[in-house]
Symmetry: C2
Subunit: 325 residues, 2 copies
DNA sequence: GGCCTTATTCTCAAGGCTAGAATAACGCCA
DNA sequence: TGGCGTTATTCTAGCCTTGAGAATAAGGCC
């Protein structure tokens, strides 16, 4: 034991091969819809990704390089999400090879046409249709709820049963309880464990619903949908206390455009007067003097982001009128 | 380019050796002081850590194994913090070897005596004395502020100067602005960049303060102090909206003990009646019927954590009377 | 019994948030 | 040219939360 302890760091030099995969969730919002940059391969979508290599100066540099190579998209804001280690869930790995997967979130302004043939901007609700509550409760949730109920009932023990019930309640909520937009990953993981998404069968774990019912929503390569879920969850959390939405906005915009962008990300609608009061009250935007009539109705003022706020003590702020539950 | 793209995943099999280091910040609170489990080596402390190896089923399993081997401490709650890739800042790595460092946060109830000779529970403010405001503003901040001011003045350009000023203002605040307990990592990184912590000199980067003034606070091995800062920051953020403090508490306790534990972590004091109102109002604890006179004065009720709250829709809640800025 | 210490409960004012109403300014069309 | 529809923008009343201090309770100790 003591020997193992002393050699802990010494061993590093002779470490067995571990490979590290960098994957990016590149987000933009176009025409009030949240988009993610996907690589379309044979009938399944993937995130831009590639292995971390020695020539990369940093993890983030490696990520940027891969994304640019694969999509010609240059990244601005980038943030690390999580390092996944259970590679059994990703590409069928060689016997001894260990693959770690580090997910990143990147934000870019309005989506440009994709730079390469098989890179494409796709609405992220294509992969998570149950996450879009902007037009009310998605009807498919009835079917999901029914399948999850079966899964709960099929628990091996009463204790397990209680646990499963609780997880369903906490992630998908009940009919009466208000929707919580943040636990995107928890919801996806639940569906995975319940065998209600194709990835679960592919990875041939727990049997899943015998009937073979699959929730709507497109699967992705390897564990990419899990990484995307992590990204959406992080972004939904972050827009509530950091002014990151502006990374997704053009130079000037009317306030309603900002609101629609936030709504696209959060998947819920907000009260217009309150949204405006918060944004203006916190001095996040300033008037440009310009107006636009492109919105129909009364012309809207054009504002711009006050980037000074990033230098002010405003470490916090940018609360949004989305109930933190 | 297109070739590189296609081979992205194929290359993984022939990936060059990358080693991954797992490090744990194991936290306990004893006698109202926040403690971290440290390995004491020749005149410098280290976190329990070791390389991720193929026999480890998951990253977390590898971490638990290393911690148990090195400290005999069995971990309960564990959470991944961040994956650091700029190994230039850690152990002087061999020419081509790339070392990634994954940091974890673990919480255990009241610290037991350390299980091995060189493992020891140490007050975390030993490493970050400026983070403890429980007894008012630490006096050393005067000296830190002065050094940072010099560093700002020494900026290569006026634009840089403005940026540095802003960073200092946002992390350490001004004399008048209230202290923000969360940006622990940002403060440490700032001191590192300004050359005010020994690690900066060791890694021989930016010159640093010519005078050689170093802030108080003990350094740690490799990038371990950075990982510890990340852990403290995460914990300070998390206790404000998730009931994780209870991982650190004994089975039953008086409310003031809970409050002191929170204060130890956050490094600030809170208003007693308000704290009590929040904790009880959210149904986080229930009466045990017992009382204790160990606190002096009027006997205190003993309460216990209502673990049911973890199964209730209470995904959020547990707000604390610590201003979110 | 009086005093000290800590526990526990109340209260009040300030500030923030929710939700809905009211008003403004433009294009369109009869 | 005036009414209508659309979106923009501003107000407001009511509710709830939060911050801070005061008041009361219950033990130990002398």
């Amino acid at each position: 034991m003591r020997a193992a302890q002393r050699s802990a760091h010494e061993q590093q030099a002779v470490q067995q091969a571990i490979s590290v995969d960098l994957s990016a969730v590149v987000v933009a919002v176009t025409k009030d819809e949240p988009k993610v940059l996907a690589i379309r391969t044979n009938d399944i979508d993937a995130l831009p990704s590639g292995p971390f290599e020695p020539q990369h100066r940093t993890l983030e540099a490696g990520l940027r390089a891969w994304v640019e190579t694969q999509t010609r998209q240059v990244l601005g804001y980038v943030e690390q999400l999580y390092t996944f280690g259970d590679s059994g869930r990703s590409i069928a790995a060689g016997a001894n090879a260990r693959v770690l997967s580090i997910g990143y979130l990147a934000l870019v302004p309005e989506a440009q046409p994709a730079g390469t043939a098989n890179a494409e901007w796709r609405n992220w609700y294509r992969y998570f249709p149950w996450e879009d509550w902007r037009n009310g409760r998605p009807v498919m949730l009835d079917q999901i709820a029914a399948s999850l109920k079966e899964w709960c009932a099929a628990a091996p023990s009463p204790a397990q049963r209680k646990l499963r019930d609780a997880r369903v309640r906490m992630t998908f909520g009940t009919r009466k309880s208000p929707w919580n937009d943040e636990p995107v990953l928890e919801r996806y993981e639940l569906l995975y464990e319940a065998g209600l998404v194709p990835e679960a069968q592919r990875d041939s774990r727990r049997g899943g619903a015998a009937g073979g019912f699959m929730t709507e929503g497109e699967p992705m390569l390897a564990d990419h949908r899990r990484i995307l879920a992590t990204a959406i969850a992080r972004l939904r959390g972050k827009i509530k206390y950091r002014p990151v939405v502006f990374e997704l906005m053009p130079a000037t915009f009317p306030l309603l455009h900002l609101q629609r962008t936030v709504e696209a990300l959060a998947g819920v609608r907000v009260h217009k007067p309150n949204f405006r009061r918060l944004v203006e009250g916190q001095g996040l935007v300033e008037d440009t003097g310009g107006v636009t009539t492109a919105t129909g109705g009364r012309p809207a003022r054009l504002v711009r982001f006050r980037s000074e706020v990033l230098l002010e003590g405003t470490t916090t702020g940018f609360r949004l009128p989305i109930a933190r539950k």
